[in-house]
Structure formats: structure tokens, C-alpha cells
Symmetry: C2
Subunit: 224 residues, 2 copies
DNA sequence: GTCTGTTTGAAACATACGTTTGAGACACTA
DNA sequence: TAGTGTCTCAAACGTATGTTTCAAACAGAC
């Protein structure tokens, strides 16, 4: 075979192990033994562990960002000049994520968990890589959010976007563990789709909350 | 000196480094050199790196959980039988966090970031430790949330609590960086208290969102 | 069949880690 | 002053990591 499947086997194994255990906690030896390839193959094909991490992200982020672009295109076309609503924008994003062609049944869950890790684990090289590779769909999403919430001040919008990112990244990055807890406590099975279906209304409601009306001053009798 | 300050120097350094870089990415050698103590002092005073992690959490979580208990006591007393509202409950928590006596100016931010890490990084030993040491204030908070949102199903409430935790932990953990960005972009100064004042309404609105009404079915025409 | 560039294999490399050791310094009691 | 328990220090231990090496195996072209 001209291009062996070693590369894909490594990517598959790395993707799953990274999602399970994080980056630093996953060694190349774990990856290569799970992938049943030689240890040296990683450095031969990718150059370094960091480059492997980049490759894992690129493999699903590149098609995702393409899907997202067309979803936004369709949305804006359908809205015909009018700015899309907040719900529409959030759903366009969610749909694009959920609909991505998955390699395995765990696909979407791994995808989300990796995105969460990317935000959470402070791997400088990863953040730099993602920023310079995928800045365009990101800033387009930001622009849509801005147009969908004209009532918000720039400062309010800024913070609420952070809150949304936080809720999403955090939940997704630990979604497996959370699902397990729910399974044990309440005996409920949950899919990533259902989590997303619960998350979006939460985010939309938070985003559109009436402004800070009943905020007690700090350092006085507070919760009156 | 009978009880040296080595222990505190180690705790201070570890706390800050953990918050900056995570647990696995922070070596004992980094900690001891930042604390200007000998490498062996960690294992002498704490026994192991994991035990040091526990100690770091215990140092701020124990007083915090005490503060929180009294805040909840006061709240329930003031409500006189009636269950406190969601806003009151969230504010009681926020107040307790903000009012905690801080060792440094970074105090509250480190506090939050560590909590986020505890949830995010899949350190099994940490989760076990926190669960068995601080389960009581946690489940009390959960009970208050439950009584304040009787309209939610258990599953809905579970996930929305996760969303709240995520938005909070994520925002607070990077609040320094976010504040700086805001300062540069919009020329706005922001305090942690103000962030909290924006966060709580966001969370309350998300928590009380109308249930997933306009959720399009996946794998059909989505964003109509 | 022979050659050439690509890919694999087992082993080693250098480095960093958490932990342990044992000798020394120090403060305190008797 | 002698003795005791507490703490610090430099050094080492064993292990695991990412990376490199170099010979062997393999593919396809001539």
C-alpha cells in the first residue's frame, strides 16, 4: 500500500485516548500500543506529539468548519437580509456539530469532549493552532450573535458569550462522566443530541435575560 | 520555629501553579523552586503529590464551606419556612465566594479556576476526596436549587445545574484574561463582583427557561 | 532482478518525573 | 550539656516520557 493505514490507526487511537484522559495523561506508548503500530511511527508520520494533537483536531475540525460555513450560508440566505435570530444561530451551530459524519458511534461525544479539552487544558500550542486555522468561522459566529442580540450592550454581550462558551465547553468536556452519573442516579440514558437540545434553550434564555435588575449591592445585607 | 512556614509556602506556590497550568503539567520541582524550599519538603510534609493537591483544596474549601453553611442558615431563617427563591440561593452562594477572606488579590480567581480544574481534569482521587469531604454543603445547595425550581424535571434540573457550574467555573477561572481583553477592546474596567452581578441573572434566566419548546428534530430540516 | 524511496521494527537515548535516602542543622527539654 | 524529635538539604533511585537511530522489510519503476 502506498499510503498505509498506520496514520489513520494512530489518529483513531489518539483521538479516543485524548478524549478519555486528556493530552498530558496520554502517552505515545499508549497510543501506539492501542493502534498496534510501532512507537516510532508517530514521530515518523507526524513529527511530534504536539503535531499529532494538531492532526487529531484538524481531522474533524476542518470538515466541521466547512459544514458550519454552509449552514451559516443557508441560514443567512433563508433569512433573506434579516439577521437570523439567536435561536436560529445557536441551532445552526448545534446541528452542524451533531450532523457531522461520524467515524464511530462515540463520534460526536469524542468531538465535543476534545473541543472542551482544547478550551480547558491550557495547551498553548493548541490554542495558537486553532486560532490561526479556524478563526474565520469563529468570528462569523460572533458576528451573527451580535446581530441577533442588538438589545445588549457590548459589555453585556461580551460576558454573556463567555458564559455560553463556559457552559458549553465545560459540559461537553465532561459529558461522559456526567452521563454516567445520571445513568446511575436516575437510571436515565442520555445522548449528546439530548444534551445539546437542553443546552441551547438554556443558553438562549440566559443570553436574553432581562438586565441585572434585582442585583443586591455587595457588602450590604444581600439576599433580601 | 516549631511549625515552619514551609508548608504555607508550598501551598501558596502549588495553588498558583495548579491554577495556571493544571495538575499534571505542574511538577513538584516547579512548586518547590517557586516556593524556594527543598524538593523533599513536599513529600515530607504532605506525603505525596496527590495529598498536596488535596491540601490545596482543603485550605480554601474548608473555610468556604463553613461560610456557605452560615449563609444558607441565614437565608433559610430569613425565609421562615418558605423555600428560598432561585435568585436568593444563587446570591447566597455568590456572596459567600466573593466575601471569602482572600490571601492575595488573585484569590477569588484562583479559587474558581481550581474548582473548574477539579471538575474538568479527570483526577479520580480528587473527585473522591472532594465528594467525601464536602458532600454536605454541596447537597444542601442542590436541595435548595431543587426547592427553588419545582417546575423542572429531575433530569432537566440536573443538566441545567451542570450548565450553571460550567458557565461559572469557566468564566471565573479565566476571568483575569477576560477582564484584560475587555479592558483592551472596549476600555472597560471590571471587577469580579461585577462579573458575578452579570453572571447570576444569566444563570437564573437559563435555569428558568421555558422547556425545550422550539427544538427542531435532528436529522430533519433544522433551523426553520 | 535490481535498484530506490518509503515505511516499519527493536533498541537505545536523553530527559523529566515522583519518591526515597541519610546525613546534617536546628530548637527545645531535662 | 547531652539528648531528642523536627525539619532541611543535596543526592540519588527507579520509572516513564518524547524522541532518535539504524538496520531490515517493503513497494513500485526500470
Amino acid at each position: 500500500m502506498a499510503q498505509s493505514d498506520t496514520v489513520d490507526r494512530i489518529l483513531d487511537a489518539a483521538e479516543e485516548l485524548f478524549a478519555d484522559r486528556g493530552f498530558s495523561e496520554t502517552s505515545l506508548r499508549m497510543i501506539t500500543s492501542k493502534a498496534k503500530v510501532n512507537l516510532a511511527a508517530v514521530n515518523y508520520h507526524f513529527g511530534s506529539k504536539n503535531a499529532l494533537i494538531h492532526a487529531v483536531f484538524a481531522r474533524f475540525l476542518t470538515p466541521f468548519s466547512a459544514t458550519l460555513e454552509t449552514a451559516f450560508d443557508e441560514l443567512e440566505e433563508r433569512c433573506d437580509g434579516e439577521p437570523p435570530t439567536l435561536n436560529q444561530t445557536l441551532w445552526a451551530l448545534t446541528e452542524s456539530a451533531v450532523r457531522m459524519p461520524q467515524r464511530t458511534d462515540k463520534g460526536i461525544s469524542i468531538f465535543m469532549r476534545l473541543l472542551g479539552l482544547a478550551y480547558t487544558q491550557s495547551q498553548g500550542h493548541l490554542r495558537k493552532f486553532l486560532e490561526q486555522e479556524y478563526s474565520e468561522p469563529f468570528s462569523r459566529f460572533m458576528r451573527l450573535l451580535k446581530e441577533a442580540t442588538p438589545q445588549l450592550s457590548a459589555v453585556d454581550r461580551y460576558w454573556r458569550i463567555q458564559f455560553m462558551l463556559g457552559a458549553t465547553a465545560f459540559t461537553m468536556s465532561s459529558s461522559d462522566a456526567l452521563r454516567d452519573i445520571l445513568q446511575n442516579k436516575l437510571g436515565v440514558e442520555t445522548t449528546v443530541q439530548e444534551i445539546a437540545a437542553r443546552l441551547v434553550p438554556f443558553l438562549a434564555a440566559g443570553m436574553q435575560a432581562e438586565d441585572t435588575m434585582l442585583v443586591p449591592a455587595f457588602s450590604q445585607a444581600p439576599v433580601a
